[in-house]
Point group: C2
Chain length 160, copies 2
């Protein structure tokens, strides 16, 4: 379906989408994060086509988000694991979970809960400022052109 390549845009959202924006990719990362790490396990947990699963895994390994490692050499068997780059993507999944819980979970409540090691409590994520530690959301910031801004592209002031 001749999709536009997002990877070349001067926009961190587009470039992130290029890596994990295709259907199934975030769910694959979720599964690997919780320990569903082998091809057939992924295939039947997700119900994804084997063809598409193979394509996605290959891409995610190329992008250094997942690592393919042999866990048995005699019968050559492999499993997938998150790299540091991939582990940081799980932050994104946690924010997706938060939004999905608030706006799509309904009566039934959230499918999963997080217990925070540091305080032991059931919690969700919130966005805070890296500098002062206070909450920081879309309405708490000005967006300014950065070093790599392309004038006029996303207006003088673009998020990206």
């Amino acid at each position: 379906m001749q999709r536009t390549r997002f990877g070349d845009m001067t926009c961190s959202i587009a470039r992130t989408m290029d890596v994990i924006g295709e259907p199934w990719s975030p769910l694959i990362l979720r599964d690997v994060y919780v320990g569903i790490a082998r091809f057939d396990q992924l295939q039947d947990d997700l119900g994804i086509s084997r063809k598409v699963l193979a394509e996605r895994l290959k891409w995610l390994v190329e992008q250094d988000v997942l690592e393919r490692r042999e866990y048995s050499a005699k019968p050559p068997r492999h499993e997938y694991a998150l790299t540091p780059k991939g582990t940081e993507l799980v932050n994104l999944l946690m924010v997706m979970v938060r939004w999905g819980d608030r706006w799509t979970a309904g009566e039934a409540g959230p499918p999963v809960l997080y217990r925070h090691h540091a305080c032991g409590r059931i919690a969700h994520v919130e966005l805070h400022c890296s500098e002062c530690g206070e909450p920081m959301g879309p309405t708490d910031i000005d967006v300014l052109p950065g070093p790599a801004s392309t004038p006029g592209d996303v207006r003088s002031t673009g998020i990206s």
Copy 2:
């Protein structure tokens, strides 16, 4: 290309993907957030096909993420704006930007910067615990089944 519907899965990631997971949707939200709000503006800022843009906008309005409002009645003209539900999605975009800046921006640096109103400094977002306020990432939590968990689906312990 007969895509699997994610909206029915018991998983907040899948349900979030169902709303904004299609190609272009996050970029459309970004543009609306920064004030690129009309059909033709969006079309030429993004270079998206008009057909796909019309489909996406319709979907996002149905999902109550965007609102379509008339800004002129004489020549009937419309623009799009974020609803509260949509504004909270921008949190997700901010986390995408953070990841993209760290892992895909390279030499050139980030295309945009955020200035935090509260402290006035250039900053990025970090994930903190809603309960104790300390940092909280993928390696700082246990994932437990929640009220709406489906046993065995994402194993006993699934993120979702």
